[in-house]
């Protein structure tokens, strides 16, 4: 099969997954409305909490100085990163539990295609949700964005997506073999919520634990995103975040692909690929 035909077939399969999930989502009519309501509540909560924090707090200075902007960007983007990280393992787990995985794998569709296709809708939906979150904060609560550094923001987001997809692939590999109890979820998810600077700057953490923040990709992802979105930062100011994310990618991407290949082989060998 030629490369172009193979690419067209791959794109056709991804579109089929997207259409399937869109049609299913249409049958749950209140999901979108309740999602919007959740965004509004979250933004409103941080808006009123921010009134307790005087503008220009030193720990917020590198990110534009406003707590509301800091928190909204942190919450909106960490939700997006959460989907990148948790989307793939939850797709595998969901397909194992609902029983659809066997029917998918008996077609000539590779497991990576099943993974990517099945998580595409939730990824796109979360991108839309993140945009709405920021848009709502601007339109209703007066969030002020700085002079957005578009190349810097896109670089950070691209490297962040690769990094969190790699963590997602590692998690999916674990789920393929062990079915449940994914440790990457709490290492990169639970710990990141506390130490990654999602709703408060990591500079407020005690010295003895602050070094852990530097080992979490979310810290650099949110630093880079906030600086390019809120603080009118030049590319040179964002470079440390970009370099850190690139290093995470250089380690996690090949590691996750190797882990996935080994896990898939083991699951097929053990005959437990579709078990849960």
């Amino acid at each position: 099969m030629s490369g172009a035909r193979r690419a067209a077939r791959f794109a056709g399969k991804l579109l089929a997954f997207l259409r399937r999930d869109f049609l299913e989502a249409l049958t749950y009519r209140f999901t979108f409305v309740s999602s919007l309501f959740g965004i509004f509540l979250s933004s409103a909560t941080f808006y009123f909490v921010s009134r307790l924090v005087p503008p220009g707090a030193p720990s917020l200075e590198p990110f534009g100085g406003d707590f509301f902007a800091f928190a909204v960007v942190g919450v909106a983007f960490s939700s997006l990163l959460g989907i990148f990280q948790e989307g793939l393992p939850s797709v595998i787990r969901g397909a194992q539990v609902t029983g659809t995985l066997e029917a998918l794998l008996v077609t000539r569709t590779s497991v990576p295609t099943v993974l990517l296709g099945s998580s595409l809708y939730s990824l796109l939906f979360q991108v839309l949700r993140t945009g709405l979150h920021i848009g709502l904060a601007v339109a209703v609560f007066g969030l002020e964005l700085g002079r957005v550094n578009v190349p810097g923001l896109l670089s950070v987001l691209f490297l962040t997506a690769l990094c969190f997809l790699s963590i997602g692939v590692l998690s999916a590999s674990f789920i393929l073999v062990y079915k449940s109890g994914n440790p990457f979820g709490w290492i990169f998810g639970g710990v990141s919520g506390l130490l990654g600077g999602v709703v408060f700057p990591v500079s407020l953490l005690p010295d003895w634990i602050r070094w852990v923040s530097a080992l979490l990709p979310v810290t650099h992802a949110l630093n880079g995103t906030r600086k390019s979105l809120l603080a009118s930062a030049a590319l040179a100011d964002i470079l440390p975040s970009i370099a850190a994310l690139a290093m995470f990618d250089a380690v996690l991407l090949p590691l996750s692909l190797i882990a996935f290949r080994l896990a898939l082989r083991k699951a097929k060998k053990d005959g437990t690929l579709t078990h849960y």
């Binding site: 089929a16 659809t100 066997e102 077609t107 000539r108 005959g271």
Partner: protein
């Protein structure tokens, strides 16, 4: 590959890992425990045949189907499906077989029958007008045209089984695997399924149906050929009429004696060889 048998299995072995008890894990943490599902199984199925695989629960029927449909890798031996090796060329195997998974959870319940087929059609490479024509054809063939627009969760058990056949036929497969297709169906729906598989697919369309079942009467009336497997080995293979018409009596008697003889042979194989006495 047109001259190759539909299925050729040679000395297939499949062992599954099993979890030991807490005591085992503590005492021998690194010992690998396995249970044998296929124990050197060999089998051949010709093209255009209705082939029934009989055997008690746990005999290895489903494992064999999963190996032949590339869902599980064997530990030993080899299997060719339509002439393609299931380990080396799984893609080619998938292109030429259909597996009618009878687990109703393998469908998307909130989508209609047609939407389910459109999705799975895309996964097997169908696109555009060709895909729509194929879906209409398999819906017509399975008698589901009128119900195509209903959500899957509104289907009866029999309709769900027929939709599983429709999905398996999307690839234009000439070999169809079905695993206990009449399980949990009422007698009329079961008859409809049997007639569809034998008369429509095998007799009219010349397809091969590889049919795992517990039902001896179903096998006797529908199959050109049966094989009895137990503990991962083929105990008996032949046409039902030849087997039941022989000295052994009815198919049930043949089945029972094949299992008993096989298990007796297994015990003999396991028995320790008596020590040779020293010669004078």
């Amino acid at each position: 590959m047109s001259g190759a048998p539909a299925v050729l299995a040679e000395s297939l072995v499949k062992r599954y890992p099993v979890l030991g008890g807490v005591r085992d894990i503590v005492r021998r943490p690194f010992r690998k425990r396995t249970t044998t599902a296929l124990d050197g199984l060999s089998l051949q199925v010709g093209r255009g045949r209705a082939f029934c695989l009989l055997g008690p629960n746990g005999a290895g029927k489903t494992t064999l189907i999963k190996v032949l449909t590339t869902l599980v890798l064997p530990d030993g031996g080899r299997a060719l499906v339509n002439g393609h090796d299931v380990v080396r060329r799984p893609g080619l195997v998938k292109d030429t077989v259909g597996y009618a998974i009878n687990d109703e959870r393998s469908f998307y319940w909130r989508l209609t029958g047609r939407q389910n087929l459109e999705f799975f059609g895309a996964l097997v490479g169908l696109r555009g007008p060709g895909r729509d024509a194929k879906i209409s054809e398999v819906l017509r063939l399975t008698g589901l045209e009128a119900a195509a627009g209903l959500r899957f969760n509104a289907y009866s058990t029999g309709m769900r089984q027929m939709l599983a056949f429709a999905r398996a036929l999307l690839t234009d497969a000439d070999l169809l695997f079905v695993d206990e297709p009449t399980r949990s169906l009422d007698p009329l729906a079961a008859d409809k399924v049997r007639t569809f598989l034998r008369r429509e697919l095998v007799d009219r369309r010349g397809k091969t149906v590889f049919w795992a079942t517990h039902d001896l009467a179903e096998a006797a009336s529908m199959a050109h050929e049966i094989a009895v497997i137990d503990r991962g080995r083929v105990r008996l293979q032949g046409s039902p009429s030849a087997l039941a018409g022989g000295a052994a009596g009815t198919l049930r008697e043949v089945y029972e004696s094949a299992l008993a003889a096989g298990r007796g042979a297994d015990e003999e194989r396991k028995a320790p060889v008596p020590e040779q006495g020293g010669g004078p």
